[in-house]
Every structure is written in structure tokens, then in C-alpha cells.
């Protein structure tokens, strides 16, 4: 054991079905590294004979459970071990069919390298892409594509090159960092352990040589020190050690630390192991830390450096894989376990499901077994985390059903929710982010909009009238509101001059103030909308972006942009408030159309032209448009 470089450890995952030759490949690796014993081989030979198979079925070596032997399938993750003088290997061997996505995800979660098998005869199949997607999703740094059964394609370099080109193009979309290809024949042993004489055109490593030399530890984050406290050692009054495994980074005696969530600071007094104190602990090591000060620290707290803090959040954006036969139940308060911390949390929003074969996003209500998708998770207390792609240890979590105690989902954190979460549920996902005050939690609306609408007898909507000053917005909106109010509808009119007398009295007419003006009005309109109103807003709102933000606050089909399309010359001729005249004299510095731009709507829901038209006729047009969109009931 006194070699210069000690034997290290590589964890890899394999996914595939019997047809890919996966079992044959694993069998060969185990056999050629002398990891299969004679009695195991004998047992397999016996079993093969009893089952009337004319060959030694190496799959019997790896398919451990009786149900699997009976059905000839692998239904779980099996762990295999082999070693060469250089390295110990742990294989997480998983089935490759789509109904075993959760098993593939499990196997991939601790792997540093994924072996993806492609049958050279079949080329790149959907299954090969699925395996690549799961490997990249779980953050496996190295992907090795073994193009197998080269003997059955006459050792063709062209076939191999085509597969490499096609898979490389696919992997680029996934953002895979390290992709390697090896042409092999697992059955005949070519390029598995020994170099193939049949493929002189291939000058790369054999599969085992690559496995022995690929850089290990690439998945470990060695920068950001994170120490989730696992257990407090307190044998007597004079010793208080915080036991745990360094999740990432490293720490030395004497360094300053901060404890989360308390925010209390101290210094590392010692890094203890059973073999004595050490100077430093690095990622992956189980140690006990003692501090200079007596602080109140318990399991679930995290010790970090003051100048390198993790993200803290209570509303989290995550990718999950549903692992339970029981589908997701909306509103269930699951237990969330992340590092050594556990707290209640619920799925506050299902953003989309990913079809693992096409990578398309689909709108769904919830998740079922093997679904992968994106959610917002709302926690009862904050989690300290890093993005999974930066830190597997602090970016991963599981969801536990509070009744069955089953692990129903596993997830990878992407970051704090950017507060699309408090948009109405029916809003499309492509909404514009909103700011939120710190430490507030969205509680949902007390009375749902459909209930209000049922009472009102009409749908709620926002009619956003935009156009130049003097185009006729207020005239039209006032007549429209009077008409609708008179026929028993719930209405509200928000006008530029009116809000600038109160709510927005602190704002001027700079571009920034105009944007803020429209932002506030948009929020107010959304509140009236939530109350079931037909809201009419009359604002010049010259910037497309500001109007789009207002649009994002209500359901997609309930925001009607009404472009009051009156030419500038006509507006200037009308000039009801004398503004154009003053602007021309230079008295108004930011006059839309004169000294400030107007971005006309590109595709408004309704466009009205006012020149030479009667107001009542314009109101008729708009009412008709509302009926056509079923916002108002059809006329009897």
C-alpha cells in the first residue's frame, strides 16, 4: 500500500437495455479485471443451463432480483464494483427504458462519468439521447459514448464517424463539457481492455484505459466552502464539536466563519478527526469542527465563510423528477430535505414538463412517475443553497410525502424564484419578472376570479387604450364605460391625469418616471381585474416594453390593447389641453410625438381610427370586439 499515487475512486453510471450489449460490456469489465469469481460464474452457467439457454447469459450476473430474472428485465439500480491497480470503480447500472427514468436519475446522481452505449447497427436512437439528457441534467461532467457491436458493421470507420458527428451535434445543445467516443465490441473484447486489431483507423484509448485515466473529482466544487452541520458532539462540558462532511470547498484552522441562519461569526478553533486534529478539511471529508466561541448551532445549520455565502431563499426555482407511483398532489405540504436541513414546503407552481425524448416543454397540471419538469417550491423556512450546476451537494433536495414517508420527488435547485410566481395562474410562462419586497410570501387570492365573474355575468378584462395625446382615448373610454356601466357591468376607468393627482403625484415625465407611472397603473389595473372589472386605462404609454409589462399581469386573452390611431397632425390640430402649442414653444421638454418617441403597437387587439368618426360608432366597434372574444356574453 505504499505506492506513490494511491488507488482512487471513480463512480460511473451506465444506462441501457440488454440489446445494447450493456450487460455484456459490464460482464467483460468485471471478468477482465478478475472481479467475477469462479463460483459466481458457475452459478450463472448453471442458471443458463436450467433456463435452456445455449450460452452463458452474463445478464444473470447483473440482474439481481428474482422478478428481474423472471421477466428478463432490470428494474432497479444495481451497484457493481471492480478495481484495477490504478482505480476502484463503482458502477451504478440502470435500465434504459423511459419507464425507468427515475432509476437512471438515481444512478446518475452520484456519478462522475456516464457510459452511454450505442448499437452501431442502429445509430443514435431516441434512447441514446435520453441518456445524454439525463446525464447532463444531473450534472455528470464526463460522458463516454461506447459505440458497440462494431463487429456487426464490419468495423466501419464511416459508420462510427457518422454516429460521432450526430451525437456531438446533439450534445452541444445540452452543453456537455467532456464528450468522448470509443468504438468497441463488448462481445469480442475489441477496445474494451485491449486495443483492437480490427480497427486500425482508431487511435484513441481503449474504454478501460479511458476509465482509468479520466480526471476524477471534476464534479466537486472546491471553491465554495459549505459545511452543513450533521450532528453535535458533546461528550462533556469542555468539548462541543460540529460533526459533518464538507459539502464543498475547504476550511483551515483559524479561518473566520459565519453560521447560517443565525449570522453569528466565529473562527475555526480546530478541525478534528478521530486520528487527531488536522490543519484543513476538504470537500468530501467527514470531520468535526470546533469554534472559538460558544454559539447555539444545531443540525441543519450551515457553516460558511463570511465573504462567500450561499443563496438564501424560501421560494425556489427547481427541476424535479417525480419518483413515486402516486402522482403529485397539489397543495400537499411535503417534507423537503436539502443537505442536513429539513422543512415543510409545497409546489407553488408547475411551470412545465420536459418530454425527455424530444426535450419539448409541455404545459401540465402536475407530475406522474418518471416525469421531469420545472417547479416553484415554496418553503416554510429558508434554505441555504447553491445552483445545482455549481454545487451538487447544496443544490439537490428530495420531497418526502408526509403520510407515506416515501421519497416522491428528487430535485435540483436553479435559483430563487424571480417572482413570476405571484402572477395569476393562467398567465403564460413568458411573463416579465416583477420586483418583490423582501421576506414576503405570496398567499394567493381569497376569492377566485371565476367566482367573481360568475356573479358579474361577464368576464374581467383590461382594455388598454394607447395613443398620442389628443388622439381621443379619454373620450372613447368615458363613453364606453358609461355604456357598459349603464347595462349593468362592473367597470373602472383609470386615466392618466387622474392617477397623477394622487398615486403617481410624485412622478414627472422623464422616460424613467413614465415607465414607473405605467408600472403602477398596470398593477392597479390588475387589482381591479382581479376584482372582476372591465378596466379601461387611458394612457399615452409610449413605450412598448411598459405596455407589455402591464399585459403580463393578467391572463393572456384578457388584455386588450386598443390602439387609438390618430395622426399627429390631427392630434395637434385638436390640442384639447394646449399641450402641443406649449411643446412647440419648448415649454414641455418630453412631449410624446414632438420631443419624445411614440412606439406604436405592432399588433393591437383592437385598432380604432377616429378621424371623421362618431364616438358612439367607435364604442359599438369595441363592444362588438368584446363579444367576439366572449368577454361579454353574446347578444340575445
Amino acid at each position: 500500500m505504499s505506492t506513490d499515487k494511491p488507488m482512487d475512486l471513480l463512480r460511473l453510471s451506465t444506462a441501457g437495455s440488454v440489446d445494447d450489449g450493456k450487460s455484456t460490456l459490464i460482464g467483460r469489465l468485471l471478468y477482465d479485471t478478475k472481479s467475477i469469481f469462479e463460483d459466481q460464474l458457475e452459478a450463472v452457467e448453471d442458471a443458463s443451463r436450467r433456463r435452456g439457454e445455449g450460452y452463458v447469459n452474463l445478464a444473470l450476473l447483473t440482474d439481481g432480483l428474482r422478478a428481474e430474472r423472471e421477466q428478463n428485465i432490470t428494474i432497479d439500480v444495481a451497484y457493481r464494483y471492480f478495481a484495477t491497480p490504478k482505480r476502484k470503480f463503482i458502477i451504478a447500472d440502470t435500465p434504459g427504458h423511459i419507464q425507468y427514468t427515475r432509476n437512471m436519475v438515481t444512478g446518475a446522481s452520484t456519478a462522475e462519468l456516464a457510459v452511454i452505449l450505442i448499437d452501431a447497427r442502429n445509430g443514435v436512437l431516441t434512447q441514446s439521447k435520453r441518456h445524454g439528457f439525463i446525464a447532463s441534467l444531473l450534472g455528470i461532467p464526463h460522458i463516454l459514448v461506447a459505440v458497440n457491436k462494431m463487429d456487426l458493421v464490419d468495423w466501419s470507420e464511416e459508420v462510427y464517424d457518422d454516429i460521432c458527428a450526430e451525437y456531438t451535434a446533439f450534445a452541444e445543445k445540452l452543453g456537455v463539457d467532456d464528450l468522448t467516443f470509443v468504438p468497441i465490441s463488448a462481445l469480442k473484447g475489441d477496445n474494451v481492455v485491449d486495443k483492437s486489431a480490427n480497427m486500425p483507423w482508431y487511435d484513441g484509448s481503449t474504454l478501460l484505459h479511458y476509465l482509468e485515466h479520466v480526471n476524477v473529482g471534476a464534479h466537486r466544487n472546491l471553491v465554495d466552502f459549505r459545511f452543513p452541520v450533521q450532528y453535535v458532539l458533546r461528550p462533556h462540558q469542555d468539548y462541543r464539536g460540529y460533526a459533518g462532511r464538507v459539502a464543498s470547498g475547504s476550511i483551515r484552522t483559524g479561518e473566520e466563519i459565519v453560521v447560517l441562519p443565525s449570522g453569528r461569526r466565529s473562527r475555526i478553533a480546530s478541525v478534528d478527526t478521530a486520528d487527531g486534529a488536522v490543519d484543513e478539511a476538504v470537500a468530501g471529508e467527514s470531520v468535526a469542527l470546533t469554534l472559538d466561541d460558544e454559539l447555539d448551532i444545531s443540525r441543519g445549520d450551515m457553516i460558511v465563510r463570511p465573504l462567500n455565502l450561499p443563496s438564501v431563499g424560501q421560494e425556489l426555482d427547481a427541476t424535479i423528477c417525480w419518483t413515486s407511483e402516486e402522482p403529485m398532489k397539489a397543495g400537499t405540504q411535503y417534507w423537503v430535505r436539502q443537505t442536513t436541513r429539513e422543512a415543510r414546503g409545497f409546489i407553488s407552481r408547475v411551470v412545465y414538463r420536459i418530454d425527455v425524448d424530444t426535450l419539448h416543454r409541455e404545459e401540465v397540471e402536475g407530475f406522474e412517475l418518471n416525469d421531469i419538469g420545472r417547479i416553484h417550491l415554496t418553503m416554510s423556512k429558508p434554505l441555504f443553497f447553491d445552483r445545482y450546476q455549481l454545487n451538487r451537494e447544496t443544490g439537490s433536495f428530495i420531497l418526502i410525502d408526509p403520510h407515506s414517508n416515501a421519497t416522491v420527488a428528487v430535485g435540483m435547485l436553479r435559483g430563487p424564484v424571480r417572482h413570476e410566481v405571484d402572477l395569476p395562474a393562467e398567465t403564460p410562462a413568458a411573463a416579465v419578472p416583477r420586483k418583490t419586497s423582501p421576506d414576503v410570501v405570496w398567499q394567493g387570492w381569497n376569492i377566485a376570479l371565476p367566482e367573481r365573474e360568475a356573479r358579474n355575468g361577464h368576464k374581467a378584462a383590461v382594455l388598454w387604450l394607447t395613443g398620442l395625446s389628443g388622439s381621443g382615448k379619454t373620450t372613447i373610454a368615458s363613453a364606453l364605460e358609461r355604456r357598459l356601466f349603464g347595462t349593468g357591468h362592473r367597470t373602472m376607468l383609470l386615466d392618466g391625469d387622474q392617477v397623477r393627482h394622487g398615486l403617481n403625484g410624485d412622478l414627472g415625465f422623464s422616460d424613467a418616471d413614465r415607465a414607473e407611472n405605467i408600472r403602477r397603473v398596470g398593477e392597479v389595473a390588475a387589482l381591479f381585474y382581479r376584482q372582476g372589472c372591465l378596466v379601461m386605462c387611458t394612457f399615452i404609454s409610449p413605450f412598448r416594453e411598459d405596455r407589455d409589462r402591464a399585459r403580463s399581469l393578467v391572463a393572456g386573452d384578457r388584455f386588450l390593447e386598443v390602439f387609438v390611431d390618430t395622426p399627429l397632425e390631427e392630434c395637434e390640430r385638436r390640442d384639447p389641453k394646449g399641450l402641443y402649442a406649449r411643446a412647440r414653444k419648448g415649454e414641455i421638454p418630453h412631449m410624446t410625438g414632438i420631443s419624445s418617441p411614440y412606439e406604436a403597437p405592432t399588433s393591437p387587439e383592437i385598432r380604432v381610427q377616429t378621424v371623421g368618426r362618431d364616438v358612439d360608432a367607435l364604442v359599438d366597434e369595441i363592444v362588438e370586439a368584446l363579444r367576439a372574444r366572449a368577454i361579454l356574453p353574446a347578444q340575445e
Partner: protein, 301 residues
């Protein structure tokens, strides 16, 4: 000399310590199953390291078949005293006397299977909610799919189709009243890893593991040691051989192997050259292709 921090043994040690600490943190009444074999000796060694300078926070539980090698019991008592640990012995003989189980009959009677009843009774008596075992995934193919945290229902049974997915280092030990967990901190170790680690850490081992002269009888390809519990069948005779044990369990079912390995280094060399698994010497696994899976479902170790 401490382990090289880049080595696979250091990694395995850190992982096992992490799992042992999770058990102490997540369960109220965890116990550590001690059989006297090298894996459970390693478990005690790792548990001592995981909680130093505090004592091992687990009660050690030994299920005694009454057919143990005397060396095993001496070693056990020395180990318990050395760690200032607490020991509880569950007796198979007591289960038989109480009518909870019936002695096997036939040419090769063993109490190995009877341990299950005594084990489950003992766990119930102690109200244990987690039982730490030294099982390794490389031992047998049914174990290749075992979790670190293995959930058992109220009858102590294992349902291989209903195991919780185990990802990253997140272990779910939540359970309903009456259920318990078996936890296997050595899941990722191989026989070779165990011996290399024992050698590197200089863990004292029972003499049975080292080569010695002993009277044995050849039966079904294994060498059974002479003991009051093993009777000769017709045509058999005791013969003295130089042997050692690769695993240590009940004297009625643990076979010896011819060996001259008398140091840890020689044992490692022997394991490296071995072409037969350590369980190849275990009589109990040979009953059927799925023998281990059946026993595990019923609540075996």
C-alpha cells in the same frame, strides 16, 4: 499513519462515517448489529471514529445462536470493554425454549435461519427504530440493489420492489410507528477494501481469520470445523488441516478455507488471488438461486 487523503479507502471511510452520523441524527433508538465477523468489527471501529471523542451512541446487539466459536465471544467481550460500549445479547436458544422457533433437523442442522426470529424479537423488545448492519453490496447479487437506508415494514420485511430512491447523500429515514430501518454504511466496500482498510488502520482481528491448525470435515465442498454442534455423518472423519476463515458466522454453517495466510498482508494477497467469493464458503446461500433474497424479505440481516 493516517490514510492518504486521495485514496479510495479514505473516501469510503468518510462516506461510512457520514452514514453512521445520519443514523445517530435521524433515529431515536438505533442499534448496531454485531456478529463477530470482520464487517461488524469494522463497523464498530468506524462508529468509534465517527463520534470521537464521544462514545459510540449505539447499543451493540449480538444475536447469539449458541453455536459461536469461543474465539468470537472472547473477542466480542474485549471489544465492548475497550470501547466502553453497551452490549445486548439476543439468544436463539431462548427463542427455541420459548417456542418462538424450532430447531432444524436433518443431516446439516443450522441455527442460521432461526436468527431471523430472534433478531426481530430483539429489535421489538429494544424498540429499535434502526439496525446498523455490515452488509456490503458486493457480497451477493440481491444485495447489489440494497439501499444504505433500507426500509422494513412492521413485520420486519423487505420489499425489493418498494424501496425508496436514494440520491446524492440524502437519506430518507422517515417512517411510521412500528416500522424500522436497516442501515448499511459499508454498502460500497468490497472484501478487498475491508482488508486493505483493516491493514492500513491496524485494526486487531480475531485469530480465526488467520491461518491455524484445526480439525475439519469435508462436506459439500466446504470445510466445517469440529465443534460440539457439528456431528459427523456416515463415512465422514475429522482431519487436521491448516485453514483460516474468510467469514465468521455460526460454527455450523461457516466453512474454513485451506490457507497459510497468517498476516494481514498475506490475507490481502490471498484475497487478490482468490477466484471464489467469500460467501462461496457459506452453506446457507446454496439452498437456491434466490436463497438470499428470500431470507432478506423475511427480515434477515
Amino acid at each position: 499513519m493516517p490514510l492518504d487523503r486521495r485514496s479510495h479507502l479514505h473516501h469510503l471511510e468518510s462516506e461510512s462515517i457520514f452514514v453512521l452520523r445520519e443514523v445517530a441524527a435521524q433515529f431515536e433508538r438505533p442499534v448496531l448489529l454485531f456478529s463477530g465477523g470482520k464487517d461488524s468489527i469494522l463497523m464498530v471501529h468506524l462508529a468509534a471514529k465517527a463520534f470521537a471523542p464521544a462514545k459510540i451512541p449505539f447499543l451493540l446487539v449480538h444475536i447469539d445462536t449458541g453455536h459461536n466459536f469461543p474465539e468470537t465471544l472472547e473477542y466480542r467481550d474485549r471489544l465492548v470493554a475497550g470501547h466502553d460500549a453497551q452490549l445486548h445479547v439476543g439468544s436463539v436458544q431462548a427463542s427455541i425454549d420459548a417456542g418462538r422457533s424450532t430447531e432444524e433437523t436433518g443431516p446439516n442442522p443450522s441455527r442460521n435461519r432461526l436468527q431471523t426470529v430472534t433478531l426481530l424479537d430483539t429489535l421489538a423488545e429494544l424498540k429499535a427504530d434502526a439496525a446498523l448492519g455490515g452488509g456490503r453490496r458486493d457480497e451477493e447479487k440481491a444485495r447489489a440493489k440494497e439501499r444504505f437506508f433500507s426500509h422494513r415494514d412492521r413485520f420486519g420485511q423487505w420489499d425489493p420492489k418498494n424501496q425508496r430512491p436514494e440520491l446524492w447523500n440524502l437519506f430518507n429515514g422517515r417512517k411510521n410507528p412500528g416500522e424500522h430501518f436497516r442501515v448499511f454504511p459499508l454498502s460500497n466496500w468490497t472484501e478487498m477494501d475491508v482488508w486493505q482498510y483493516i491493514a492500513a488502520e491496524d485494526v486487531p482481528m480475531p485469530s480465526l481469520y488467520f491461518s491455524h491448525r484445526r480439525e475439519v470435515v469435508r462436506r459439500d465442498g466446504t470445510l466445517l470445523a469440529r465443534s460440539p454442534h457439528n456431528a459427523l455423518l456416515d463415512g465422514e472423519a475429522w482431519e487436521e488441516m491448516t485453514v483460516r476463515f474468510r467469514t465468521i458466522g455460526d460454527a455450523t454453517c461457516t466453512g474454513a478455507t485451506p490457507s497459510t495466510a497468517s498476516t494481514l498482508e498475506e490475507i490481502i494477497a490471498e484475497v487478490a488471488a482468490s477466484r471464489v467469493t467469500e460467501r462461496g464458503g457459506r452453506h446457507d446461500d446454496k439452498h437456491s438461486e434466490a436463497a438470499m433474497e428470500d431470507r432478506k424479505k423475511q427480515g434477515y440481516f
